[in-house]
């Protein structure tokens, strides 16, 4: 742990309390006239009324889905920044989200009846293809941090352009514009069950392997002298990134900035130990995404703003602020 570490347990507990607050707010607030008190009462004691169903079948799965997706993206962000030793890396900036999106969009055009679990396969394939390319570039050592970040952004731009091309060429595809912005509107329990195993396994493995992944953050020579096979460990980290980010994109579209922002916030709060950063990210990611979704539901009430738009609106200036703060120090 570095000297910047300040009571990570305290910070974690505080963030967790905030997270519970967001969860409760998310369940008590909605477009229908259900009062906050009633919503909370029904959350505690469900009955067979339609209002209870609203809380349990519409609001709760949405909030839970936001938690899982937030955790996935944040953990994937920590791993990818560690793996590539690049503070600008994230599932979004390295084109992983865009790869998954392109694969899903292409498959939706080819097989219009594709839905639910059917999108996970293409999402993994797309994310893996981009992930593999980025990992190869990263371990080949031909690119420094900056070049790698630029390569990632270029890949993302190309893939996004391809998605645009498909959308323009195919009218039916315009329906998924909302999904493409990153949206939790369609959250239901089946989607939660879909992503839950990937969150648990991906997050669990990331935490279990934190000690090994942490060495990746050092340069390769140090890693080798510590007896680590960087390619093997890096490969495992890359698979985890693909699984975590790909499954998130499959259930709610490409949501940006969570994976980029959360690792920076957490490192500033609690220092650099990877295990601590991972655990805190699994709390702060959901906190951030849950808050953004709540905001998206309020700002154009009773209509909704896709959560991906909110994370971009909040995330971009926040990231600039972080970069500025770093320089100023």
């Amino acid at each position: 742990m570095t000297d910047r570490a300040r009571h990570p347990v305290l910070i974690g507990a505080l963030c967790f309390l905030l997270l519970v607050g967001v969860l409760i707010a998310g369940v008590s607030f909605g477009a229908s006239g259900l009062s906050v008190g009633n919503a909370l009462r029904l959350l505690a004691v469900p009955d067979t009324s339609p209002e209870s169903a609203l809380v349990w079948e519409v609001r709760l799965p949405r909030v839970v889905l936001a938690m899982l997706v937030g955790a996935n993206l944040a953990i994937a962000g920590v791993l990818i920044q560690t793996l590539t030793r690049n503070p600008l890396a994230s599932p979004q900036t390295f084109g992983i989200n865009a790869g998954a999106s392109l694969a899903i969009v292409a498959c939706l055009i080819a097989f219009p009846s594709l839905k639910g679990a059917g999108t996970v396969g293409p999402a993994f394939a797309g994310a893996a293809a981009v992930g593999l390319a980025m990992w190869a570039l990263s371990v080949s050592g031909v690119m420094n941090e900056l070049k790698l970040a630029l390569a990632g952004v270029s890949i993302q731009l190309v893939l996004s352009a391809l998605v645009q091309a498909i959308l323009i060429a195919n009218n039916a595809a315009q329906d998924i514009v909302y999904w493409l912005a990153g949206s939790l509107t369609a959250a239901q329990w089946p989607k939660v069950w879909l992503i839950l195993p990937f969150t648990l396994i991906g997050g669990g493995l990331a935490l279990a392997g934190a000690r090994h992944f942490g060495v990746l953050a050092l340069d390769q020579t140090t890693g080798l002298s510590l007896g680590q096979n960087a390619r093997y460990t890096g490969g495992l980290a890359a698979i985890l990134i693909v699984v975590l980010a790909g499954s998130a994109v499959a259930v709610c579209g490409p949501i940006g900035f969570i994976g980029l922002l959360v690792p920076h916030i957490v490192r500033r709060l609690a220092g650099g130990d990877l295990a601590v950063v991972l655990v805190l990210s699994a709390i702060v990611g959901p906190l951030l995404l849950g808050t953004a979704d709540l905001f998206g539901r309020i700002v154009v009430f009773p209509a909704e703003m896709p959560v991906g738009v909110v994370t971009a609106l909040i995330g971009a200036p926040a990231f600039l602020a972080i970069l500025y703060g770093r320089r100023a120090r």
Partner: protein, 305 residues
Amino acid sequence: MSRLTRRSFSLAVVIAAFAGASFAKAEDGPRTIEHRLGTTELRGKPQRVVALEFSFVQALDALGVAPAGIADDNQTKRIEQLLGKTIDYASVGTRLEPNLELISNLAPDLIIADEIRHSAIYQQLGSIAPTIVLNSWEGDYETIKASVVTIADALGDRARGEQALAEHEARIAALVARIPKGEERRILLAVATPDAMSLHTSASFTGSVFKAMGLTPAIETSDPVESGAGLERLVSVAPDILLVATDPGGTVLDQWQDNAVWNAIPAVRNKMVFEVGRNQFSRFRGLKTAEMIAGEVLAKVYDAK
């Protein structure tokens, strides 16, 4: 009283139509067509017309003109469905991005464009052929009706447009007469997409057709469409009659039907949910489409054949 006024109005329209017919024949000289982006000078009777929106194709058909070119989104089947028959025409690409070169190749003598989709290329279209710009994309029923007359005017036969309109209104009135009196239930058209629904309000084409039928749209606002609506929003709108427009393939409708909240919607409780075709109810606009919508609502909601 109101029926009497309507009838006498129809009569007046028919008389005006005949008067106009003899008048139009008298002069084929230049005439000025007023449209959304200004005025356009036309002379003679345009024969080679390019239509950049579906509603214009239907209007031309009602006026007995087969368009030379159509922005058909490269889907001939849609035009077949729109008109209920196969016509000979050349595709000029998508409605969103019509291909100017293909339009120019057709050497048209009239182009009909949409205000929202094609304002940006108005100058270019104008350099190919005289262009009139109408509101189709966000056009409500009244706008679409007025457009038929404007298009007829542009074709040099305003009378035919007024006649087509009078005939249409008579057909709609006959359909509306069969709706039971005192209907107060609120009706909503929702377009189902893979993960949300788009709710069509009173300002949408279908919503304004509902209004013209004497029905009450469930959302009364000036924005035609509210997109990205989730299940909770639908519950809060609480429509009594719900028409769900679907495309072939999976939509959110399949997922929602398994959700207990779905049953909290009055329309679902009272078995007043009907699936309708998305092309007819949400993509197409026109007199014929309005008649089709009225007819299908009668058949589905009121069980009237």
